[in-house]
């Protein structure tokens, strides 16, 4: 997942829900959400598509993301397999409960949750009763009488449950007992609130209440291109049709967020794409072409086209994105990292004022650098921490000897130990990046002179730092271990290094399938010799 992964970087700000009608079923497929309790964004559109009739839209000022809501399964830009997975879930769920979607009911429940938030009233049954104007029993009875099948969708969680998840768990448990319809929660896991998901739906609760989780991936760029092209041609009467390269750029930079892609397209068209044509006609298709993939020939697109080698030709491709007002942040990140990794040295005769080293230090003598690492770090607008870890992920391939490796690795270690004191961490961060960047540059003994022959590295893709995902995963695992093996009360270290591995070996009767699955997960190691990223 070289590129796909970096798409994640940009997804945190996706919450730009354009729908003004709160009670509608959630509309557009949302991007990038890894789904959690039961379902995510796409699901709701799937649902809408599966179970709902057509809707009429007439207003002109309407957002395209609203107007082109999918109305049937076929129109969904989600991978077929996912659609199937969700359809299957629905089949299962409605078999269990015997219901179909009724929009009003979802509104009621939505209202209920909103109200619960407002009044802190927590009794699920009475709340449903109150908002529906009858008791839940009669409500359910009524439902059966109508033979109207229902799915309850909760799209946004009231904030109070993030603060006190126990209340929420109680409600869920109650619902499990008395609820008659499948309940669907849609949550997006942006980078920062994944802990919220952990908290709202801890593993043990998921197993206890038998909550299925379906996780959605970002929509594939090829799918997006298709969708955008369809929308663009449908709208083409009013605007000049945007060129294929414009659409590609939008698709690629949206990192799988359909709504944002459609909005970008609409705004770009509104701005008159003729302007853009001048910009993007000859040199455009900037990023995609570079990797020799031409979308017209149906080659695969990938996110993170932004990642380029940072040498020289970097700027031309940005323009289109800037004109379109895209939100591609990774571009800066990988460009910055690339600049450092592919650093260049200048001819010392042109920099006469550089002092030379005494002879006994001759081995450390280098020609003057043409990159200013501090400036790169500053311009990247990223926290030093982040930049360092991306550099760390990628530096190894640029070094050829173990001695260089030894030195560079030590500098990274130095950089990290600068952040040891949390009181001074903020202040020292910029120094820490400098140590890492300059440490790497100096350690690279292949390029000590401006005319050092460059090893043919070939085309080295840059990778997203794995540290953040790894440590997040580790934290989640520790939390799950604790939740699932509460009764064993061991310290987490003992639990993970001794108890779980031996539970796996000695197979005592475990209490629930969640434990079994978790133990297996925790004791299986990937041994692939390929460097997986």
């Amino acid at each position: 997942m070289q590129f796909g992964a970096e798409a994640k970087l940009q997804q945190s700000n996706y919450k730009c829900c354009p729908s003004s009608t709160r009670h509608d079923l959630p509309s557009n497929a949302e991007s990038g959400s890894r789904k959690r309790p039961r379902e995510t964004g796409h699901k709701s559109s799937v649902q809408q598509a599966l179970f709902q009739g057509s809707s009429k839209y007439t207003q002109n000022s309407e957002l395209w993301s609203e107007r082109y809501k999918p109305n049937s399964k076929v129109e969904l830009a989600v991978h077929k397999k996912k659609v199937e997975e969700i359809s299957e879930w629905f089949a299962k769920a409605s078999a269990q409960y015997g219901k179909v979607v009724s929009q009003s009911q979802s509104t009621v429940f939505h209202n209920f949750l909103l109200r619960a938030n407002k009044y802190k009233a927590l009794d699920l049954t009475t709340q449903i009763g109150a908002s529906a104007g009858r008791t839940s029993d009669s409500l359910l009875g009524n439902k059966a009488a109508n033979d109207k099948r229902t799915v309850i969708v909760v799209e946004e969680m009231p904030n109070i449950f993030y603060r006190d998840s126990n209340q929420f768990h109680d409600i869920l448990r109650k619902y499990k007992r008395c609820g008659k319809s499948p309940l669907v929660f849609i949550m997006s896991d942006s980078n920062n609130n994944s802990s919220g998901i952990q908290k709202l739906f801890p593993k043990d609760l998921m197993h206890q209440l038998r909550i299925d989780s379906i996780s959605m991936n970002p929509v594939a760029p090829t799918m997006l291109v298709k969708l955008l092209t369809r929308v663009a041609s449908a709208e083409s009467g009013k605007f000049p049709t945007p060129s294929a390269s414009v659409i590609e750029t939008i698709a690629v930079s949206s990192s799988g967020d359909i709504r944002s892609a459609l909005n970008t397209l609409q705004f770009a068209c509104g701005r008159d794409t003729l302007d853009l044509k001048a910009k993007c006609a000859p040199p455009a298709k900037p990023q995609l072409k570079k990797h020799g993939s031409s979308s017209s020939s149906g080659a695969r697109l990938k996110y993170g086209s932004s990642r380029r080698t940072g040498s020289g030709d970097g700027d031309s491709g940005d323009d289109l994105g800037v004109v379109l007002g895209l939100k591609d942040k990774a571009i800066f990140l990988f460009q910055s990292v690339g600049k450092v990794l592919h650093f260049k040295r200048g001819d010392p005769t042109e920099h006469p004022r550089v002092p030379s080293l005494p002879t006994h230090l001759h081995q450390f003598d280098r020609d003057p650098l043409l990159v200013d690492p501090e400036e790169v770090a500053f311009k990247s607008q990223l926290s030093g921490d982040y930049l360092t870890s991306f550099l760390h992920e990628n530096y190894v391939e640029f070094l050829s000897t173990v001695e260089d490796l030894e030195r560079a690795a030590e500098y990274f270690s130095d950089a990290d130990s600068l952040s040891a004191l949390w009181t001074a961490r903020e202040d020292l961060q910029s120094y820490s990046v400098s140590v890492a960047m300059r440490g790497y540059i100096h350690s690279n003994s292949d390029i000590t002179r401006h005319d050092s022959p460059r090893r043919n590295l070939g085309w080295l893709p840059l990778h997203k730092s794995r540290w953040f995902t790894a440590s997040k995963q580790a934290n989640e695992n520790v939390t799950s271990a604790r939740q699932l093996f509460k009764g064993y009360h061991w310290e987490p270290e003992v639990l993970c290094t001794e108890i779980l591995p031996y539970i796996n070996l000695s197979n005592p009767t475990l209490h629930d399938p969640g434990q079994i699955r978790f133990v297996q997960e925790m004791t299986t190691f990937s041994r692939s010799t390929q460097i997986s990223r």
Binding site: L399, A409, S413, A415, D416, E498, Y502, I503, F525, I531
Partner: protein, 355 residues
């Protein structure tokens, strides 16, 4: 079905299998009435927790065995909510403050205050103090340790602390001097054999002597591990076959393979491969210092005398940084790179000597 480790854990000081003299001391301490703060330390799997629970039982009777698991909430001065799970009885409360990371100071202070403010209900028949058991004290931040020192003195009247850790080197001297240090050393191989045999007898199994020795050796004098291993062997094959290898946790095998990879080839490409494996271990919640120690142990086997010293010194250096820093992977990788460089130089010198 519970694990043997839990099932056959001795519950009273009298039932302890080894270090009996120490157990007798503990009993005298309890009888003496003026129970001090305790700092229990020693290697993993030596029986520290068992001894603590036995002492508590000696103090309060079987009531301490009625445990409940609770979530306690604390609020930091910056209004952040912290949740921590505690295990408690009517007489004691056990908590692992390092669970909350660098906010451990707040937890320590609030928790002890809460416990100490409530007096024991029935002081005539019971002790007039409660006990707070803190585990993994060596992982407490310095701030928390200083907070602990002050709180210890302040609430001495109503509350005693039992601190539990692997090594006292990370506990500040001020705390060490306020506690009665109690080192629980690892049981000897013979003692472990003895216990394994008794446990197997209770399970209705016969454990051949060689098998018991093999398991005891393999466990590295860690009783918990020896029992877990023995149980795993039982599941895999019974009657026990002393010929058969004792199975090890998957992550240890994985770590050993990783060490072999490092020793086989020293190149940037190999380092990348190793890094992937380090990440894999980290995501499986193997603590970085355990990884470092495991790697060192395996790597030392390919080193000769003089190199050993150099490698160990570097391992210690990076392990120290690991504790200080934030991103373990940098330091683990730096150690691997260092070893690769040292080992490569060694190999090259060896070749030069031959010619």
């Amino acid at each position: 079905m519970s694990l043997w480790v839990d099932k056959y854990r001795p519950s009273t000081l009298a039932k302890l299998d080894y270090h009996k003299e120490q157990a007798a001391h503990l009993r005298k301490l309890v009888e003496g009435g003026d129970f001090p703060h305790l700092l229990v330390y020693g290697p993993s799997g030596a029986g520290k927790k068992t001894r603590i629970m036995c002492t508590l039982r000696e103090l309060y009777g079987p009531g301490v065995e009625k445990l409940r698991i609770e979530q306690s909430q604390f609020t930091t001065p910056s209004n952040k909510k912290l949740e921590i799970s505690t295990i408690s009885s009517n007489y004691h409360i056990e908590v692992n403050p390092s669970d909350v990371g660098h906010n451990d100071r707040v937890v320590i202070q609030e928790l002890i205050k809460n416990v100490a403010q409530v007096n024991q209900l029935d002081t005539s028949t019971q002790k007039n103090f409660k006990v707070v058991v803190l585990t993994e004290v060596d992982r407490l931040s310095k701030e928390a340790q200083h907070a602990l020192r002050r709180t210890m003195e302040k609430y001495m009247a109503t509350c005693r602390l039992i601190l539990c850790c692997n090594s006292t080197s990370k506990v500040i001297p001020a705390i060490r001097s306020r506690c009665l240090g109690l080192r629980v050393s690892a049981p000897s191989v013979d003692e472990i054999c003895q216990i394994l045999t008794t446990v197997c007898k209770k399970e209705g199994l016969t454990l051949p002597k060689e098998m018991a020795e093999k398991v005891a050796e393999k466990s590295g004098r860690n009783l918990r591990r020896a029992l877990l291993m023995c149980e795993a062997c039982r599941v895999q094959q019974y009657p026990f076959n002393p010929e058969r290898d004792v199975s090890e946790p998957d992550w240890e095998i994985y770590l050993r393979e990783t060490a072999t990879l490092i020793a086989q080839q020293q190149s940037p490409k190999r380092l990348l491969e190793v890094r992937g494996r380090l990440y894999e271990l980290l995501t499986h919640c193997i603590p970085p210092d355990v990884i470092m120690k495991g790697l060192l142990k395996e790597l030392l086997q390919v080193c000769d005398g003089q190199m050993k010293a150099e490698v160990v010194q570097n391992a210690a250096y990076y392990e120290h940084r690991l504790q200080q820093g934030q991103k373990a992977i940098y330091h683990l990788e730096a150690f691997v790179a260092k070893f690769m460089a040292i080992y490569k130089r060694f190999l090259e010198e060896g070749i030069a000597d031959i010619f």
